[in-house]
Structures are given as structure tokens and as C-alpha cells.
């Protein structure tokens, strides 16, 4: 059995191992990684500061792989075929793969080692930067390349006044030319960052506390900064290879052949540490290709690595920057719009027929549509292509054109997957082909290919309506439709089902208000809404009274206790800071509500696709760390949005300080107090696929906060799909969080006033569904186990006792099969 040892556990190592397993590698795999955690998506590193957790970014590790983390390899004994780690552990290998990546280059300026100086490469680096930013007011990034600007964006996100210092006369010198660089600079300065191009660093000076205080430029000018991040390029980590006598390049990088093998046939090198064909590749796409080539070779194949596409596209501080193909050529055509902040340039062959490459700033349209055409004949004149506007041009790609350069997927492969797997959405394409799963820049193109391939991307809610929920919402809104019967008669077929009926009921409730059990609406509700309680496995229901913000008086606690005792209910504290009473039969529900309502409680809507709770920590009233009254805000928000019907349940929380005890970032909308006001986070959830909410707006006053939440919720209710939580909804908005911000903060669609008015109508029209039900004899008649024997309880319901409380007796499950 082959013993494979991998040194380094970064993205390249991950891809190597994954490929080996997919190919059925039969040997053992041991990985020694220096970082304290398994490989994670370094490309998405910055998202760690805006809400992604380390777990979110971590790649899966195939079962059977032995991971030794926190294990830095210090030596290779090529004779004995062993590697040794810093802790003394020795690991024998038959095949060794070096995937050690690169390390940031820190120029030898005086003061570079002061506390407060950082690099930007690992999750640990980001933790350290975030911690240092807490006590800081300004920061500087040394290096205005791709990673430097990304780091600058991160510092800005941490609330620092941010400077960027770049030696070259313009930003991103490796990706864009001078014209593009100047447009980029305008964009970035407009966002409030200070850009110093053509500037070096003379020294970094400490303050009295011994930490970084300022950066001094060669001309003597000073930039105040308590945080300094070096982003002046990377160097391949070839030290192990060097020490064991393997050839390395003049400027670094472990020399490999086209099969990614070093001079020692038992040792491969892949990723950013490798020098392949005289080049070190600093992008993850080529690194992945190298990993696949090495995996193939290890399995006895003969794959070769022949170089790779160095195209890049990124969105920095809201500005799209992209370059592809060769960045020079016989002819070039430039489109420049300094007012609109757009710069596009195409390089073409001397007969102006073949596309060689291009640069775009402020509009990556040409990148999306033209990158796959590099080296091919242009589909139109360069001028036409450049003037095609933001959407980019609609071009028909040849089958062998590479659509996803990160994962090396061609259009032909995508079309084949669509046809053979019957794919109908981008998620399916991602799963089958891996296209779009790394940097995501080709996703718009995947959509286009889907549409072009003639796949009817079905948005039909069910067999009764050919429309999506958002479309039905607009139909109901614009046509002023008041009933399901009218809607299905005019816009659907059949008589509906358990999919469309509750969805339409929710739309009608959001738009028209009124009691959800009024008239025909009652029949649309699923059992929970129909009985205003949550059905449990034995057909009984649970009852959750609202406890706004989780604040409750002793008197009310006693009432809940008495009700539970008198009706023999099982009680449990919920995750939403309230109390759930289980085991009620339908005929008991109105009696239970009566007792609760008389004591001042109301429905908690635990049964509805509606606002559930707004949790809170105890806040500044009691807590010695609190900076705002989180309980007060949570109560106000819960009372404002109670009863609001939505595409899925809605959860919220308010934390009184950055310690975040209320776990607001796991909510659909979470609020965290700052010294200046409130930060609003959106799109979080727990559940099957946990997600952290992302920052939508910072330091809001209470009034502004409520206004933005009003708009957020109403826009969600209007446009989301059935059962789509806010996280998935935001992800699916074209343009994501930035687009959401444009709509509900900058009012780009001009609908904010309408959204607010809609919310005002909801707030004004709110009433307690429980009270309205117990006061209406007509509605009460439904609350019986048997219409012909209203006094008889359901005999199938039985309980036993566990830990002094009731528990359903399990009904034996024999499914009657004919």
C-alpha cells in the first residue's frame, strides 16, 4: 500500500487529496499542516471578517485521511524517505507531496516587527488584525495589489480610517494598466480610502506604548496608523526543498516537470510553492489544476500541466476589476468614462480579428462574456464589444471555451451535464461540474448557458400555478385580489394543494391583513395556522405565548405555570426565550388561550411562517458591559413585527454590546449595539445549514434602524420564494447584499416609501389572533376533536410520565400496505 504524505494543508492539498479519493486511491494519506486547522478556502478569507466562520470556510476532509495539524515539517530525509515535524514526529513516505504554498513578503523596513504589524494570509492573521483594530482608529496597508486592496477593504470594514501605500505609480500594477489604475484610484478614494501611489516606506515608528503609531514615507511625510498590514507580494515556501537539496528557481519556487514532479521522483510539489514551466502561479485555479495533474500522476496517469489562465476578476470595495489573457498586444482599443468610473480595454491581434486579452475596471461585463474567447476570432468589432454596456455582450461560446477557469470547466462539459443530468438550475451545475464553486465569477455565465440550452428554468410553485411566489405576490398586489378562489380561477388551474394554499394564504395575510381564519382563508391554512398552535407527533398541539424580548414578570411566569399544571401540559423553555406548553388537544386550545389572554398574554405565532421572537441579552440596564438597552429595543421590534406573515419563519435578536450574548448574527435580522447606535446584520440562520448574518448597515440611530428593517422585511416578503429563508433569498438576489443595500438603503428602485407604508399598515392592523378567536363563536366551533361528539376527547391520545412530566405514548407504526 502506497504511503502518501502531504506537507501543508491549504487549498491545493485539499484539491489533491479530494482528486485522489475521487479516483479511488488505495493507499494511506497523511497530511502534516502547520496551521492549527484543516484546509480552508483562502480565496474567501476576507469573508471571515464579515460574518463567515472558520467552519464555513473549511473544506471537507475525506474519511480515512490522517491529519496532523499544528505540525510544521522541518526536514525531509530523502534517503530514509521520512519527514520530520517540529514536534519531533517522523512520518515515513513512499510518495511525498509538497503543498506548502507561499508566505507574505515583508520588506526589510525599520519597525516591521513592531506590535501592530501584520500580514494577511491566514485566519490567525485575521484574528490578530481584528483584535488590534479594536483599540485603533487608523490603519495602513503596504501594497496596492489585489490582496492589498482586499486587506484595505477589510480594515475599512473594521472601522479604521484606511490608507494604501503602493510603490508603483498606479494601483494593481500586475493586473491593470495605468489608465485602469487611475479609474480604480478614483473609485477607491471616493469610498474614503487614502491612496498613496508611487510612494515607498522609510520606516514604521512606535508610539510611547511601544506599538506601531505611524508610518514615515521617504519624503518625510507621516501617516498615522495603529495597524499596519504588509501586502507586498508573496514568496514560495520552498525552504524544505532547498534544505533537502531539491532544485529551486532563482527567484524561488520548487522546480517541477510537467507532471509536477521534482528532481526526486518520489517527491511532487504543487500549488503556490511550485515553479512549473518557469512560473509560480499565485491564483487558486492553476494551483487546483496542478493538484489534479499530480493526483493523476500518483495514480499512474500521464496528465501534464501546461500553464494556466491568469485571468482575475474581483470586486473590491464595490468596484469590479478584471483582467484576462495577455495584457499587451499589437492593437488595443480603449473605452474610458471617467465620470461613470468605467475603463475597458481590449488587446487584439494586428489584423484586429483575434482577441488576446483585456482589462476592465468598474464594469466586468467584457470579462464575463469575452474571457472564454481569448485566442479566438472576435464575434464583433472591438468597439461594439466595448460599448455593449454593463450587461456585457451576448456571445455564443464555442464548446471548448473555458467557462470556469478556477476548475477548468468548458462550456461543452456544462452543456453535457445539463443534458445528461437534466439540470435546471445553477446549483445543479455547480454540483455536477464544480464550475462556479470557487471564485463564483462565472455564475452569471452559467445562468446564460442554462437559458440558452433551452432548459425551461421552472419557477412554477406547483402544478396549480405556473408562477413563483414573488410573481404571485405581485399579481395579488397589483390586481388587488382578495381570495384564493379568485386567484386560482383567474391565474391557476385545479383547486390548489398543500404547497400553494398556505403560500397564497401568507401573501393575502401580508397584503390584506385580517384574521387568517376569516372566511375562505381558513381552509387555506396548514394545520398549525388553522389551529393557531403547533402540531406534535401524536396529533396534540403545543402553545407558545409571546414573551417579547424574553422579558417576563413573576406574575406572568406563575400564570404559565398554573395553566400548564391545570391542563397537564409538558413545559419546556425554547431557544427563543419563551416557554412552550405541549400536549394540548384541539378542544383545550381555546380554554388555554382564554386563561393566557386574561393574564395579558397573546399569541406568539410559533405556528406561523411569521416573526417568531426577538431574543435579547440583558443589555445596558443591568450588564456592566452593555452599551445600549437591548431588551427595550428587542421588545419594541417584537411588538412592531409580531404577526407579520412572511415566506418563511423570521427570527431576530438584539445584543447590547459586541460580546453578542443574544447570538444576533444567527438570525434573519440581528442587531448589535455599538457606542454610536446599532449595527444591523441580515441573512443569518441556525438550522440544517447554519449561516452568520452579514453587516447591512452600521451605527444606525434607532429610528433609522427601524426604517431599514421595515424595508428589509417588506422587500423580502415581496420577492422571496416560498419557504426561502432570508439567507438564501439574499444569496439569490442578483448582486447579493450590495444590491439589497442599493434597494433598501439607497432606494435605487424608488420603492422604499411604499415598503414603509406597507409595514405601517401591518403595524396599525395588528390584533391578537388568539383573542379574536375566543371572542368569535363561529371560529370556536372548529376546536373540537369530533364534530358529532364535541365533549369527547380523542381516545387515541395517551401519555406516560417521564422526569415528572407527560410524554406521548408512541402509537405503534404499521403502515397498511395493500
Amino acid at each position: 500500500m502506497t504511503r502518501l504524505v502531504v506537507v501543508g494543508h491549504g487549498p491545493t492539498a485539499y484539491r489533491l487529496i479530494e482528486t485522489l479519493y475521487a479516483k479511488g486511491f488505495g493507499g494511506s494519506v497523511t497530511v502534516l499542516g502547520e496551521e492549527p486547522r484543516p484546509a480552508y478556502d483562502r480565496v474567501a478569507l476576507t469573508s471571515y471578517l464579515s460574518g463567515k466562520s472558520a467552519e464555513d470556510l473549511t473544506y471537507p476532509v475525506p474519511e480515512g485521511v490522517v491529519l496532523r495539524l499544528g505540525a510544521k515539517v522541518t526536514g525531509i530525509d530523502r534517503e530514509a524517505r521520512t519527514v520530520t515535524a517540529a514536534d519531533g514526529h517522523t512520518e515515513p513516505y513512499d510518495v511525498l507531496v509538497l503543498a506548502t504554498g507561499s508566505s507574505p513578503f515583508v520588506p526589510p523596513v525599520p519597525g516591521k516587527d513592531l506590535p501592530g504589524c501584520f500580514v494577511y494570509r491566514t485566519i490567525d492573521d485575521l484574528d490578530a488584525i481584528a483584535a488590534a483594530a479594536e483599540g485603533a482608529s487608523s490603519g495602513v496597508v503596504i501594497g496596492g495589489g489585489l490582496l492589498g486592496l482586499e486587506a484595505a477593504d477589510a480594515l475599512r470594514g473594521l472601522g479604521l480610517v484606511t490608507h494604501v501605500v503602493e510603490m508603483s505609480p498606479w494601483l494593481m500594477p500586475r493586473q491593470v494598466d495605468e489608465g485602469g489604475g487611475s479609474i480604480l484610484k478614483n473609485h477607491i478614494e471616493a469610498l474614503g480610502l487614502a491612496v498613496h501611489t508611487g510612494a515607498g516606506v522609510k520606516s514604521i515608528e512606535p508610539g510611547e506604548d511601544g506599538r506601531v503609531a505611524r508610518l514615515v514615507k521617504p519624503d518625510g511625510a507621516e501617516i498615522e496608523a495603529q495597524v499596519v498590514v504588509f501586502s507586498a507580494g508573496v514568496r514560495p515556501r520552498d525552504e524544505l526543498a532547498r534544505a533537502s537539496g531539491l532544485p529551486v528557481g532563482e527567484r524561488g519556487g520548487i522546480v517541477v516537470d510537467e507532471g509536477m514532479r521534482t528532481a526526486d521522483p518520489a517527491i511532487y510539489a504543487v500549488g503556490e510553492c511550485a515553479l512549473a514551466g518557469g512560473m509560480v502561479y499565485g491564483l487558486v485555479g492553476p494551483c487546483f489544476t496542478q493538484a489534479e495533474v499530480a493526483a493523476d500522476r500518483i495514480m499512474g496517469g500521464d496528465a501534464v500541466f501546461t500553464g494556466a489562465d491568469m485571468s482575475t476578476k474581483l470586486k473590491l470595495l464595490g468596484v469590479e476589476v478584471a483582467s484576462f489573457g495577455a495584457l499587451d498586444g499589437a492593437l488595443d482599443v480603449t473605452f474610458m468614462d471617467p465620470v461613470g468610473g468605467v475603463y475597458k480595454k481590449l488587446f487584439v491581434s494586428d489584423d484586429a480579428r483575434t482577441l488576446l486579452g483585456g482589462i476592465c475596471v468598474g464594469d466586468a461585463g467584457p470579462y464575463n462574456s469575452l474571457r472564454p474567447l481569448v485566442g479566438r476570432e472576435l464575434p464583433a468589432s472591438p468597439t461594439e464589444l466595448l460599448f455593449a454596456g454593463t450587461g456585457g455582450v451576448d456571445v455564443d461560446l464555442p464548446d471548448d471555451a473555458q467557462v470556469c477557469s478556477c476548475n477548468n470547466v468548458t462550456k461543452g462539459q456544462i452543456c453535457e451535464a445539463i443534458a445528461s443530468e437534466g439540470l435546471t438550475d445553477v446549483a445543479g451545475i455547480k454540483k455536477c461540474t464544480r464550475a462556479g464553486t470557487t471564485c463564483g465569477s462565472c455564475v452569471p455565465m452559467l445562468k446564460q448557458i442554462l437559458v440558452k440550452s433551452g432548459v425551461e428554468v421552472s419557477k412554477a410553485m406547483c402544478e396549480h400555478f405556473a408562477y413563483s411566489r414573488a410573481e404571485l405576490f405581485d399579481i395579488v398586489r397589483v390586481r388587488g385580489i382578495g381570495t384564493f378562489s379568485q386567484l386560482i380561477a383567474e391565474h391557476g388551474t385545479g383547486r390548489g394543494c398543500d404547497v400553494c394554499k398556505p403560500a397564497v394564504a401568507s401573501i393575502l395575510a401580508s397584503l390584506n391583513g385580517g384574521h387568517i381564519l376569516d372566511g375562505e382563508q381558513a381552509a387555506l391554512q396548514d394545520t398549525n395556522d388553522h389551529f393557531l398552535a403547533n402540531i406534535q407527533k401524536n396529533g396534540t398541539y403545543s402553545v407558545v405565548p409571546r414573551v417579547p424580548g424574553g422579558e417576563i414578570t413573576p406574575e406572568k411566569l406563575i400564570v404559565i405555570g398554573e395553566v400548564a399544571r391545570d391542563f397537564g401540559l409538558y413545559t419546556k423553555i425554547t431557544g427563543g426565550q419563551r416557554i412552550d406548553l405541549f400536549g394540548a388537544r384541539v378542544e383545550q386550545l381555546p380554554q388555554i388561550w382564554k386563561r393566557l389572554v386574561d393574564a395579558g398574554f397573546e399569541s406568539g405565532h410559533a405556528y406561523g411562517k411569521a416573526l417568531r421572537t426577538v431574543k435579547s441579552c440583558v443589555g445596558s440596564t443591568w450588564c456592566r458591559y452593555g452599551v445600549q438597552d437591548s431588551v427595550g429595543l428587542a421588545i419594541a421590534l417584537e411588538l412592531r413585527y409580531r404577526g407579520l406573515r412572511s415566506p418563511h419563519k423570521l427570527k431576530s435578536a438584539v445584543s447590547g454590546c459586541a460580546r453578542e450574548c443574544a447570538e444576533a448574527r444567527s438570525k434573519d435580522f440581528g442587531i448589535i449595539a455599538t457606542e454610536q447606535g446599532w449595527n444591523l446584520y441580515v441573512g443569518g440562520n441556525g438550522g440544517f445549514k447554519p449561516r452568520h448574518a452579514e453587516l447591512l448597515a452600521a451605527d444606525l440611530s434607532t429610528d433609522d434602524l427601524i426604517k431599514i428593517i421595515d424595508r428589509f422585511l417588506m422587500f423580502y416578503i415581496r420577492t422571496a420564494d416560498r419557504l426561502q429563508r432570508t439567507a438564501a433569498w439574499i444569496e439569490n438576489l442578483e448582486g447579493g447584499l450590495d444590491y439589497l443595500r442599493q434597494v433598501i438603503i439607497d432606494d435605487s428602485l424608488g420603492i422604499c416609501a411604499e415598503l414603509e407604508a406597507q409595514m405601517e399598515r401591518h403595524v396599525a392592523g395588528y390584533f391578537d389572533e388568539w383573542r379574536a378567536t375566543i371572542e368569535d363563536p363561529e371560529k370556536l366551533r372548529r376546536f373540537v376533536s369530533f364534530v358529532n361528539a364535541p365533549g369527547t376527547p380523542d381516545p387515541s391520545i395517551a401519555f406516560e410520565t417521564e422526569r415528572d412530566q407527560i410524554k406521548p405514548v408512541l402509537i405503534p407504526l404499521e403502515v397498511a400496505r395493500s
Partner: protein
């Protein structure tokens, strides 16, 4: 005489009055208890009545009367409120798993009173 002969199968039915027709909400069910048996009765959109066993065979809970009523490919059906399997109101067959079914019962209206037969 022939009239009596034709009527004889009917006479073996034991019809039980269960509720007023107006007690039933269109496109919704209710449960009735007949000789210890739980029967889910449904009133369709067009006024037609249906009766099925109330027990959901998948969960074992007596809840089918509380499901959402609708159609699947034109066939009237109720979706179990537990795990959403659909049952034909005409045949009791589970439309998601034809090997599973629930019993059906005869149902009619006499002078505004709904009657169910469990024979």
C-alpha cells in the same frame, strides 16, 4: 318488488347522522366518531362529500381530517398535516406511495344532515 331488491344492498348500510352539512367548511375536513371509529369527513369545493379513515398510516396519528384539501392532477386529495403525503379522497390511496391506503366510507346528505356509513 324489483325496487326492494335493488334497495337491499343499501339497507345493509348503517347510516349515522354526524353533523349538519353547514357545519363543514368548503375544502376542509372535520373528524367524526362513529362506533368508536374516527372518520375524517371532507367537503369539496363543489360541495361533494368524502369520508376517509382519520388515521395517518405514516405517522400513526389520527390527523388526516386536519390536512389541506386540494387536487392533484384533477383528483381531489388531502395532504397529511404530519409529513404531507397526499391521499385520494375518492379511493383512499396514497398518491405518493400507491402501496399505502386508508379506508374510505360512504357518505351522503339527507335533509341537510351529513350521514356516514361504516358497513
Amino acid at each position: 318488488m324489483s325496487v326492494e331488491l335493488q334497495a337491499s344492498p343499501v339497507s345493509t348500510d348503517r347510516w349515522h347522522p354526524v353533523c349538519a352539512y353547514s357545519d363543514l367548511i368548503p375544502e376542509r375536513g372535520a373528524c367524526v366518531l362513529v362506533e368508536g371509529r374516527q372518520i375524517a369527513v371532507f367537503r369539496g369545493f363543489d360541495g361533494a362529500l368524502y369520508a376517509l379513515g382519520n388515521r395517518d398510516p405514516f405517522s400513526g396519528a389520527y390527523v388526516l381530517s386536519r390536512g389541506i384539501v386540494g387536487t392533484r392532477a384533477g383528483e381531489p386529495m388531502v395532504a397529511s398535516p404530519m409529513h404531507k403525503q397526499a391521499f385520494s379522497l375518492l379511493t383512499g390511496e396514497c398518491l405518493d406511495d400507491p402501496s399505502v391506503s386508508v379506508p374510505t366510507y360512504r357518505i351522503r346528505v339527507t335533509d341537510g344532515v351529513v350521514e356516514v356509513s361504516i358497513a
